[in-house]
Structures are given as C-alpha cells and as structure tokens.
C-alpha cells in the first residue's frame, strides 16, 4: 500500500465515473468547500465528466483568498518595519493590498522569505539574531496545529526574536453564514479532507442537521472525489442528509485530538474579517496572553484597518458561491495570474486561478 497510486488507478476510476454518470439528470448544486479540492477537481478533469445538471460550486476554503485586504496591508506594514524579516507561505507573496503586495515590498528592500513550514521561520530566527522574524500566518485547521507547535517550540528554546502574526481561521463559521443564505440553494457539501483529519467528520453534524444537508468528507485523489460525489448523489436522491466519511484512511469521526489540544493551548477564538463575508464571530484564532511575547500584533502594535476590496473585483462573491469567475468583468482581462487584482487569481488554489489555468469560460 502506497496510499496514492491505488487511488489514481483507472481500473478504479473508470467504473466510478460510469456509476456517477448513471444518476438521472436533474439540477443539483454541490459546494466543494476546500481550495485543494477545487484544484484537484480541475487538475483531474472531473468537471468534464459530471452528470447533466450537476454543478460544482467553489466555496470559501482557500485561506489566502479569504484573507481580508486589511490583513494583507498589515502584512506589508510589518514587512516594511526596520530590523524585521517576514516569513510566509509562497502563495501570499503576490496578493495585492491597498499599498501593494509583499512581492513589491521585497522589491523595495523589505526582507521577505518564503518558507515551507513554520518551523523554517523559527530556524530563520536562529540564523538572524539581530532581526525580529515574523511568521505571517494564514491557514485553516490543517495548518494551525503546526503553528501552535512552533510557538511552543520557540517558547521551549526561549527564542526572543521570533513572533507570529496570526490570521488563522476556522471553517465552520463561514459555512453557517453561507448555508443561512437561501439564494445559494445548495444540495450537498463536499467536505474538506485534511481540515477534517484535524477536526473530525463530526464537525459537520451541526450543519447537516440544521440545514438538512448531505455532507461527505472527501480525499483528494480522483477515486476519492468520485466516491464522495456518488455518496452525495445517493443521499440527495434518497432524501437523506447525513455526515458520511469518504476518506476514512485519513479522517476519523473525532479527528486528531492531540493537535486540537495544542491549538487550544496556544490560541483563543476571536472575531475575524473574511474577504466578501465581513467579520465573523469566533472565526479567527488569536495567540493567548500566556504566549504574548510571540504575538507580532502585540509586539509591533499592529492594528488592522478596514480596507476596501479592489474596485470591480468579485473575489468576495466568488468565495461565497454567488458568482463564478467568468461573471467577473475583470476576469482574464484586467485580472490574470501575471497581473492579479484579487487573491482568487493569485493563490494556486484560487477559483479564478483554476478557471484561468484550465481554460474554463
């Protein structure tokens, strides 16, 4: 068992495609919440084999895309401070704020380093003792435990020149907001795989019950996504609304409680701004007072400003499933991956970037 090739095998996927296509044509709207699913669905060409009437709508699960313009400006502000070096995940580099992007700040002399892991940012602090290393931290439940562990490690090592600017978010609050909107008319949710590795399939029980909505947790290989879609369509046709786990090799009902406990030790829920959705109560994570020496917002006294989103950009509406990228007047005209206006065109997981890359109009 290699845990990858088995789930890409066409001997498995071909009959699953046939099974999926046997469902009778009828209008069905399923939201894939996670940006990694959006990418995988495009990458494997799954949109071209869907049964007639089945529409896949991308949701708010791309962390870079939902980061509010005000937070992007705060990132740039931090990067421009004296004796500060910021570390980021690569996707953030080119997201434009009202004062340009981190990439532009770097071109004007700001120290910006792309890292693969928050631990790499901590190692930078050892390498540059004369600077404050600030990890500009975005991410959902999958990413937050590693950042919590990194802060605990910094505390253990007593590293004094390391801090984190947390814009971490949790996925259930925007789901609640979207599902409360009757115009969205969703028939099912394709639930994120690795977020669920941490929070467990149980996390969707509330929305399944409250909105009588079928929810299926899915993996990222073609066979996983096909299976999850079949499970959703079966529920929809049988008028069931349950939480089912289609990714049981990586997701349990309860999730990774060790990781959740670490997150809880370091972070405390706070209200957080989402692009296109406004401030959602309890949807963000701030660093607890106990670890305030590692909290960049306190150390550098950063206050986030409420910044308007770029003029004409429909990222916010696209993240809420209200519009598809081609509905945006800027899409593929003023806004392209080479010259992005909104974050959905920047992030490799952004819906606009996926539509552009795979030529969907």
């Amino acid at each position: 068992m290699k845990y990858l090739s088995e789930f890409r095998d066409s001997a498995l996927t071909k009959p699953l495609v046939a099974e999926l296509q046997r469902f009778p044509a009828r209008p069905i709207r399923i939201m894939e919440i996670c940006g990694t699913h959006t990418m995988a669905i495009f990458h494997h060409g799954l949109r071209s084999i869907l049964p007639e009437g089945l529409q896949l709508i991308s949701g708010p699960g791309c962390p870079v895309c939902v980061t509010a313009a005000g937070h992007i400006d705060a990132f740039v502000d931090i990067a421009q401070q004296d004796k500060v070096r910021v570390a980021i995940f690569g996707d953030l580099m080119r997201v434009p704020g009202s004062n340009g992007s981190l990439s532009q700040a770097a071109a004007h002399g700001a120290q910006v380093e792309m890292v693969y892991s928050p631990m790499d940012a901590l190692e930078l602090a050892e390498k540059h003792p004369g600077e404050l290393i600030v990890f500009l931290s975005v991410g959902f439940e999958t990413t937050t435990p590693g950042v919590a562990a990194t802060i605990l490690e910094a505390n253990r090592r007593e590293t004094s020149n390391f801090a984190v600017y947390s814009t971490h978010k949790v996925i259930p609050p925007p789901l609640e907001l979207l599902l409360a909107d009757p115009d969205l008319e969703l028939n099912g949710l394709l639930c994120p795989g690795h977020v669920s590795t941490i929070i467990g399939a149980q996390a969707y029980q509330t929305v399944a019950d409250k909105y009588q909505l079928p929810c299926v947790v899915a993996g990222f290989e073609p066979a996983d996504i096909l299976r999850a879609l079949i499970m959703l369509l079966r529920q929809i046709h049988e008028e069931r609304y349950e939480v089912e786990n289609g990714y049981n090799r990586a997701v349990t009902w309860q999730g990774n409680q060790r990781a959740c406990a670490l997150v809880d030790k370091v972070f405390i829920p706070e209200d957080s701004p989402w692009r296109g959705m406004g401030i959602l109560p309890g949807s963000g994570l701030a660093i607890r007072e106990t670890y305030s020496q590692f909290d960049a917002s306190k150390r550098l006294d950063i206050t986030m400003q409420d910044i308007a989103e770029p003029k004409g950009c429909l990222c916010g509406e696209i993240l809420c499933g209200k519009f598809a990228p081609p509905d945006c007047p800027l899409f593929a005209k003023a806004c392209t991956p080479a010259n992005p206006i909104g974050p959905c065109m920047v992030s490799s997981e952004g819906t606009c970037a996926a539509y552009f890359r795979y030529g969907e109009k």
């Binding site: 001997a11 009959p15 699953l16 892991s117 990413t143 990714y247 090799r249």
Partner: protein
C-alpha cells in the same frame, strides 16, 4: 493550501515521552527524503508506517487496515457498475 501527502517513516529520532526535545522522523516518498516533526501526530508511528505530512508536520498516521477498507469500499462501489455490464 491544505495539500498534504503520505510519506513513509524510515527513521525516528526521539521518543513519544521525551519532553525536552521534540521528536522528529525522517520520511521518504519516491526517493525524496524529508525531516518532519511528530509534535501533533495523532498516533505514534512505527518504522515503515506512512504518515500524512503538511507544512513540515506529520498530522496523521495512516492505519493500513483503514486504508485497505477505504480501497475495498471504492472497489465495491466500482464493481457495482462493472457487474451491471456498463462499459468501464
């Protein structure tokens, strides 16, 4: 950004109950080797186990039994269609 990949554990440094230094593992996939942290993994892996890696951390130890069940369920779902004589 929630991309995470399964990699095989080929070396473990440290132990589960070591509170002074955090344990790491050397993991491998297709010849690529990487050192990852085990701070947040749900189940302590054994040598040869596969773990799911995200941003330098193992977030889940894959259970071979669960994975086999997962694959069997997929095969069963695929077999339904195949058995009906659909072109597969």
């Amino acid at each position: 950004m929630c991309l995470a990949v399964p990699m095989q554990v080929i070396e473990i440094n440290g132990s589960e109950d070591d509170f002074l230094s955090q344990p790491t593992a050397l993991v491998e996939s297709d010849g690529i080797k990487k050192e990852v942290r085990l701070d947040i993994v749900d189940r302590w892996p054994n040598l040869g186990d596969y773990v799911i890696i995200h941003a330098g951390f193992a977030i889940h130890t894959l259970d071979p039994q669960e994975a086999k069940t997962n694959l069997r369920l997929l095969q069963e779902m695929a077999a339904v269609t195949h058995g009906d004589g659909e072109t597969a």
